[in-house]
Subunit: 697 residues, 2 copies
């Protein structure tokens, strides 16, 4: 990948002297920063911008390991052949007209890829805007020179954007408004070869990159991405486009990429410790805050404790509202801090959190107020982070951040600023704060959202090795052989539960029966109440088909239920009788295979209503005990598992055993495509499968 | 109230010639805009800023009907006495040091209020920044003149802010950044007399005010506010501070105001058609969009159908994601529109929604692309609103909004812009769009959130008259007498259900019993299975106390349950036996009384898990049939009521009857403080109370 970022020489195929064209901007940009040989290629010119121009790339004498192509799409394959002949290892295709425009373009893109593979070329693009290196001032992009020339703001965030046009607009905006301190910015367009996973791998080793931020619509190599991200070597922030059904349709038609199951992708990224955003500037706000390198010291068991330091009671109240909604807590100040602040604030002002600093301001002026107030809060061990509200002022009242906050930026605790004010004061104050290492925001909800975001993961997370395995490897060998023997893709309840039992998991006992007398005998054996189920091969939704009758307390009730079922529209071929278990909560558990991320485990609040509240969490298989704890903690209805209203809490060891074994099965036995255990009933704390279905590949 | 906004003459008590003080700014601001007599009052000066200065307000000869007070808090009562003596009807107290600083300040504030009441004075404030009238250039505030002088941006939004300091900073920010076109801005601080309800009433009749936006922490006259808002004469947008438990604490300590039950306040404002925001700039963004006066034509039954008109596939995808998350739909373009766009777009580009206009741009240039593309979409009857994405450009590429969008602003459909770009292009384009009547935003999530917000209510909502009443008025008379006769405040289940039965509501039958033989006889009468409940006066949480045993199928089970209960730690004084009903969904219904808004009705998804998902909706009593329909539609689990997985849908007539009667009871019978019906079980579509408790005042 190094030839893309530090090429020994660059050939530009499609260079032109015509102003206001991409080919002209590309060449101009190269001359404004790139320090190696620049070789324009265009048969119509001998010289462009004072540089010798070559008729084709094979004629270039200099050392060239990067070619940038900006010629019409149909001409690209021939150019690529020449690059292959010239032995150029890296090619950025910035032209559009490929997969994004339909089947013909897709075929053209496939042809290019084939030529590249044959010739040992890595392709970047097509339909992209190339890359920018802020420190080196390398701009390998058709972006207008005016958009970046005076605006590079070098820093530690490297940005990856999957899209054609957006990247340029977005970067122009970020640079000219001085929103983000960029290390490198990459527009990878249709990413037919070089993708976000390649770049992630590169940036994890890139010394200039402290934080990696990206917009992507798919993860074609999701599993590899997950493994790299799970190393947690640098903060990674992802905005995933195509979350909605509608969004996924747009993604498919536009970038021809497969958008995965959103809940699964979210779970996988959570598991890997990847920060997630829902909008472009939110992505940037999270990344620029993570770039500051704050340490997060929240107590492992509790919510991060935040102080709000404000000039306005109303703004303090609104901030407290957002903190609560985002799962953060208002810190309880320690007695020592309270004492310090009582000396600092006028006596009539009670010291609370939010800390209203205005009364102190009237007493001491800004310098003492900010420095002493913030120092007291930063030193408080009960405080994990601070949100400071500032009114920027203007003219004689302008706040001098250097003077007021000097020294405070040595703190490892996150200190985030919410700034409002007259435009003459706002922008200089914001930039001064950023320069000192404090991120500043102009909306309360965003500052709280970002603060909640950076506390989402702690540094040095557990790396997801394959767990030792609770189950004997021989079991999986046996299950492999068993599953391969099935001829039907869908196993019915009886077969599914048998397989789970073999895996060492607890399922409700059952007795199969062929007729009424068998059914009655089975019930006799279990004792009433019982459940009667009808077996009908290939039928998964038994409730709707009338093939489940619960809570049958007498032989008469059982007999009536049998007659109704046997005489109903979906006559079963045989029956299952089970004891009626009484549980405290119905869970749903299962496994699925994602085409991009591979096998994954699901846990949710289950029963017939699982679809209504959609309270489910995914993690990629194999899962660890810690993964299971995180899954439980992410459920909205987790209170139901924790001993809700006098019930026995779920035994977390047993639940973890369930999910770890399911995960291991999906990891080791390829033939299993999907498993649904619903309900996984919790009886006296113990999860027991009451119904299950397994789909084979 | 008119003397506050159009005074015949203004006295300023606390005027001073010292620069950089509030008293000096106040006087300067008056001289810069106010066109009536200005009378500074300060015994230390004879003249300030060339104006004759008086030693006290009684000495002022001119016609004066407004006094602005800016002297230290302890001196205010004496000044107020003089205002009373002078017969001044309106006083704005901008000084701080009152209820916001603790008990002493609160006492001082009470004294001021008493003097005012006696003297026939309306007080505005204290602890406030007064008011601004953008059109008249009246600034009755200690805001620095530099903050507003060149920045007034007259328009149709009137703003009310409950807070001391924030108001000034907020207004300075809004004005200098040209974010909001203001009619009048009011900072009402501690609102000891003039409050948001007074101002709402005034602005509903104010010709210059098209939209009313406010930040408040409490609604001391909530019921009157609700009645005024319910007239739906102008859009009203509210940001309510103090939503969280923590926020409410901050509210109580800061402005000493009672923050109501948040879910109830949200329900009441929804019911009145009040738009709600969660942050300051969100409030402003909603207000400035509503000011444009778009018509909202969404089909009554469906989701508003939105087109995204974009230069970037990626931005289109992210917008589609946000649309789905916000309950809006991507419009399906009509065949006619599709045909028009197919002519306009190059042939290789499939026409979809989001509509990618870039290919057309390359073919036709911007003018034809925007005008023809947007015209086609605006004329499509399948489209309710449009989100346009623009890259502002800069230099030679700058977009000229006047030229491109001229004429399109005649459309009544909402057209909202998301704009990004180089700072040189961004701000001029944003302002030009705003000038033309199109709101512009810089975050996708905000533009979608605002669009969803403006579709929340349709114009001309039903006014909430007291419903004719399903129940006979005599019943309420009888219930009134009955409830007043109770001596204990908490009615147990038996008494509570009896009262509900008298109200005409269906409750589960029950037979009281004193001992085991009575219990067995009762079960015999109903037939098994039955439910056994223990009665224990004053005890509300029967489940935790072990006083409910469900699903008893035989005399043996009943006997065992009886013995356990009788021998348990909460021995009941007597028993209730009920048949075990089998229902499809457990609801919760009830009434509460809010100290600010009065009686309210609640509906939610119930059972023991009601507290876990907190899926409840409030409406103020009395409620109408339409209110009940809205309540159902706001439940996250509403699918459970609509015939979920083969169950019978809830009979909406019967459910409405329940809530209307409960509401009428709370409206007519003051003695009833709270009712909880949980579960309200839906059996074959019919709601039946299985348990209930009533608390009297």
């Amino acid at each position: 990948m190094k030839f893309f970022f530090e090429p020994k020489g660059v050939a530009l195929i499609g260079a032109t002297p015509k102003p206001h064209t991409g080919g002209h901007s590309l060449l101009t940009n190269l001359t404004l920063g790139y320090d190696g040989p620049i070789c324009p290629v265009n048969p119509r010119y001998h010289e462009i911008l004072g540089l010798r121009c070559y008729p084709e790339v094979t004629a270039v004498p200099n050392p060239v390991d990067l070619a940038i192509i900006f010629v019409p799409a149909p001409a690209v394959p021939a150019v690529l052949e020449q690059c292959a002949a010239r032995g150029i290892p890296g090619v950025i295709i910035e032209s559009g007209g490929f997969a994004e425009v339909g089947p013909e373009g897709r075929a053209l893109q496939e042809r290019c890829l084939e030529i590249a593979r044959r010739g040992g070329i890595r392709i970047w693009g097509p339909n992209c805007m190339g890359l920018i290196d802020s420190r080196k001032r390398y701009v390998f992009s058709f972006l207008s020179p005016d958009a970046w020339q005076d605006n590079l703001n070098p820093g530690g965030v490297s940005l990856i954007v999957q899209s054609g046009l957006l990247a340029g607009g977005f970067m122009t905006t970020l640079m000219s408004h001085k929103i983000l301190r960029l290390a490198k910015a990459c527009s990878i367009g249709n990413k037919c070869d070089v993708d976000e996973t390649d770049l992630l791998e590169f940036f994890l080793d890139d010394e200039e990159t402290k934080v990696i931020a990206m917009y992507v619509e798919s993860f074609p190599r999701g599993r590899r991405f997950f493994e790299l991200a799970s190393q947690r070597r640098k903060p990674i922030v992802v905005l995933k486009g195509g979350k909605s059904a509608a969004g996924a349709r747009a993604a498919a038609s536009h970038t021809a990429s497969l958008a995965g199951n959103q809940a699964l992708v979210r779970g996988a990224l959570d598991q890997a410790g990847v920060y997630q955003a829902d909008d472009f500037f939110e992505l940037v706000d999270l990344a620029r805050t993570l770039e500051k390198g704050f340490e997060r010291t929240a107590p492992p068991a509790g919510k991060p404790r935040v102080v709000v330091f404000t000039f306005s009671g109303a703004a303090g109240i609104v901030t407290a509202d957002h903190l609560e909604a985002s799962g953060l807590a208002l810190a309880e100040l320690s007695p020592a801090t309270r004492e310090r602040l009582e000396k600092w604030s006028p006596s009539w002002m009670p010291v609370n959190n939010p800390v209203d600093f205005w009364p102190a301001m009237e007493k001491h002026g800004p310098e003492i107020t900010y420095r002493e107030g913030l120092a007291a809060l930063l030193e408080d061990p009960e405080v994990d982070a601070i949100i400071v509200h500032l009114f920027a002022g203007f003219g004689v009242w302008f706040l001098d951040a250097e003077k007021l906050f000097h020294g405070l930026n040595k703190t490892p605790k996150p200190v985030l600023f919410w700034v409002m004010g007259h435009e003459q004061g706002y922008q200089p104050l914001r930039l001064a704060l950023e320069e000192m290492g404090f991120p500043a925001f102009n909306e309360i909800q965003r500052v709280v959202q970002v603060l909640a975001g950076i506390f989402e993961f702690r540094a040095g997370g557990e790396s997801p090795a394959v767990p030792k395995g609770c189950a004997d490897p021989e079991i999986f060998q046996a299950l492999k052989i068993r599953t391969e023997a099935f001829r039907e893709p869908v196993l019915d309840e009886g077969e599914s539960k048998k397989l789970l039992r073999e895996l060492g998991l607890k399922v409700v006992p059952e007795i199969p029966a062929e007729d009424l007398s068998g059914v009655l005998a089975a019930a006799q054996e279990f004792g009433y109440p019982v459940v009667l189920k009808g077996r009908s091969p290939g039928l998964v939704h038994k409730t709707e088909a009338g093939l489940i009758r619960l809570d049958l307390h007498t032989p008469e009730q059982l007999q009536a239920a049998f007659r109704e079922m046997a005489g109903g529209p979906n006559m079963p071929v045989s029956y299952l009788v089970q004891p009626q278990l009484k549980g405290d909560v119905e869970l749903i558990a299962g496994i699925v295979r994602d085409p991009q991320f591979g096998p994954a485990v699901m846990l949710g609040i289950g029963g017939v209503r699982a679809e209504v509240y959609r309270d489910v969490v995914f993690r990629l298989a194999p899962v660890t005990r810690r993964d299971v704890e995180e899954m439980v903690s992410k459920l909205k209805g987790r209170a139901l598992l924790e001993g809700f209203r006098g019930t026995t809490p779920v035994d977390l060891d047993l639940l973890a055993d369930w999910l770890i074994r399911l995960g291991e099965l999906s990891w080791r036995v390829d033939a299993v495509q999907e498993i649904d255990v619903n309900p996984l009933l919790v009886v006296q704390g113990e999860p027991i499968a009451v119904d299950a279905s397994i789909v084979l590949r």
